[in-house]
């Protein structure tokens, strides 16, 4: 099939799913241009004509990049993210920029200057977030894969809510050059895919050292994983802190099914403990806002983006008005929290303490993996997709939607969320976690589970 034909079909599907509000920008003109570029290329590339949607916090020259924020209204990046350059070079077509929580801050894609994204199965519900637009597009069958970004679960959580595969690579595996920074020590460009194979091929195509990102490791790109036929010889740990008594029954049932499938595939299941994981969310909500407060200082109305001139007309009025009006409520809250925890007198008590607890959280994972456990299996989220508006009033309630995904982000580990069934029609996800830089082995094992567990079957608590 030619790229032109793929582009045409993709355009039709994008047009047919506008009610989801999953995209911020796409156009038939750009689709045609991408198709023409791919069709004209001498070699088809490993991602030959694959249509990929890109979260709107990954910069692209051809489309605007807004981070779903008014402060970047109309901003067009003068350079491409390394991930985008690599995917295009591998033959992929960039077909749309997707809606998201503003600056990736949120777990429901309700905090967007462009309005909330609707869950493809139930429009009353949220698709998860912050990569909700990317997850919804993949779930709706518009694209086989989309880029999202993770800071504290922003791909795995919406993948789980929407019933698709969400792969967060090891920190340092994929270049962050061109990913608009939120929490720099946590941010990872990540993949949402229809299948493990789609996610693996996209990850492989954009992974590897980037001389423009000092936090990428100098290791070769990840190979496309070869799916395992079974899980013989693998020990799969179930960390007890991730299976609380009050876990949603549908989620618990989905995980039970997954565990049975793992055992049927020859995997050996054992209980383990990650004692500091319960501190992951509070740790995360110190580290991420602190880094965000500094990362978002550059949106000051001086060099790019819209500018609001304050009543006094001086530079401080300009800063305060531009930032006060440009950022939405959740972003402003996090900037204030981040500024507070770094400010004089509080640094030791909050930021430094959080980085130390973070070390304990990472150390737990290292110890478990060193004890001979190959992978960890946990729920991705405590509940299936919740209703829009349900958690917008209480920021902490929203933060707790990420209770099972935050620790992995703090430890920089690779993890994938797989759809493992439905509870009352809503998808349930299971999370597989691997040791640092074992992304390829993680996906190889995930492919075996994917084959063995039906994503669409109803599970009962």
């Amino acid at each position: 099939m030619s790229a032109a034909a793929v582009a045409k079909e993709t355009g039709a599907r994008l047009a047919a799913t506008q009610h989801l509000n999953a995209t911020i920008h796409w156009s038939e003109g750009l689709l045609d241009a991408e198709a023409a570029r791919v069709d004209a290329a001498r070699s088809p590339g490993t991602l030959s004509a694959m249509p990929i949607a890109i979260k709107d916090n990954i910069v692209t020259v051809e489309q605007p990049t807004t981070c779903a924020s008014r402060i970047l209204e109309g901003y067009r990046s003068p350079y491409n993210a390394t991930a985008v350059t690599r995917l295009r070079a591998a033959g992929a077509m960039i077909v749309a920029k997707t809606n998201m929580d503003e600056f990736a801050m949120g777990s429901s894609t309700e905090h967007s200057a462009f309005g909330r994204v609707k869950h493809p199965i139930d429009p009353e519900r949220v698709p998860g977030g912050s990569s909700g637009g990317s997850a919804a597009l993949v779930a709706a069958g518009v694209v086989p894969a989309a880029l999202g970004s993770e800071t504290g679960g922003s791909v795995r959580q919406p993948a789980s809510f929407c019933g698709v595969v969400g792969m967060k690579p090891s920190y340092g595996r994929v270049s962050r050059y061109g990913l608009v920074a939120f929490g720099s020590s946590l941010d990872c460009i990540s993949v949402l895919g229809r299948t493990v194979d789609d996610a693996g091929r996209v990850l492989s195509g954009m992974s590897g050292h980037d001389p423009l990102d000092a936090t990428t490791l100098s290791r070769p790109p990840m190979a496309v994983p070869t799916p395992r036929a079974d899980l013989e010889g693998l020990r799969i740990g179930l960390p007890r802190e991730y299976y609380p008594a009050d876990l949603h029954p549908g989620v618990a049932a989905g995980l039970r099914r997954t565990r049975e499938a793992v055992e049927k595939l020859g995997g050996q299941v054992c209980e383990v403990s990650l004692p500091h994981s319960p501190y992951a969310v509070p740790t995360y909500y110190i580290v991420a806002p602190a880094e965000a407060a500094a990362n978002l200082a550059r949106y000051d109305g001086v060099r790019y983006g819209p500018r609001t001139v304050g009543p006094e007309g001086d530079i401080h009025a300009l800063y305060q008005a531009t930032r006060g009006e440009g950022f939405g409520a959740e972003v402003r809250r996090r900037i204030l929290v981040g500024t507070y925890v770094l400010s004089a007198g509080y640094y030791e008590a909050y930021y430094r303490k959080a980085q130390r607890v973070r070390a304990l959280i990472a150390e737990d994972f290292r110890k478990v993996f060193e004890s001979g456990v190959d992978l960890l299996l946990t729920p991705t989220t405590p509940t299936p997709a919740f209703k829009a508006g349900e958690k917008t009033e209480d920021p902490v309630a929203m933060y707790l939607a990420d209770i099972f995904v935050c620790a992995v982000s703090l430890a920089g580990l690779p993890a994938v969320s797989l759809p493992v069934g439905r509870s009352e029609g809503l998808p349930v996800g299971a999370q597989l976690i691997a040791p640092y830089f074992e992304d390829e082995r993680l996906l190889a094992a995930a492919a075996a589970i994917e084959r063995a567990v039906s994503a669409d079957a109803e599970v009962r608590g």
Partner: protein, 98 residues
């Protein structure tokens, strides 16, 4: 731990964020809720504290000193809110002159 209105306003000034009077009370209560929540880290015993952790490479890889900037597909004039004769412009800023 309790953060008051003046502390929120101080932090907002540091962050150069305008905060409207009518949203202040709500912000104060939300920030208190968040800060109270993260304060549970105090439960982690100090004797268990490790050195701060950051993932990624243990040491920064350095760049050779060779001019090779990433080119700009569009010039600053095209994305700047106010730009004249090669300069970004802001309202007259006097602090360093006087």
């Amino acid at each position: 731990m309790s953060i008051g209105r003046s502390e929120v306003l101080h932090v907002a000034r540091l962050a150069e964020l305008a905060v409207r009077e009518e949203e202040l009370d709500r912000l104060v209560s939300q920030l208190n809720r968040i800060v109270d929540y993260v304060t549970q880290l105090d439960q982690v015993p100090a004797d268990r504290m490790a050195e701060p952790f950051l993932p990624g490479p243990a040491a920064a890889a350095l760049r050779e000193d060779v001019p090779d900037p990433v080119p700009l597909a569009r010039a600053p004039a095209e994305f700047a809110p106010e730009f004249r004769e090669g300069f970004f412009l802001v309202p007259r800023h006097g602090a360093m002159e006087e």
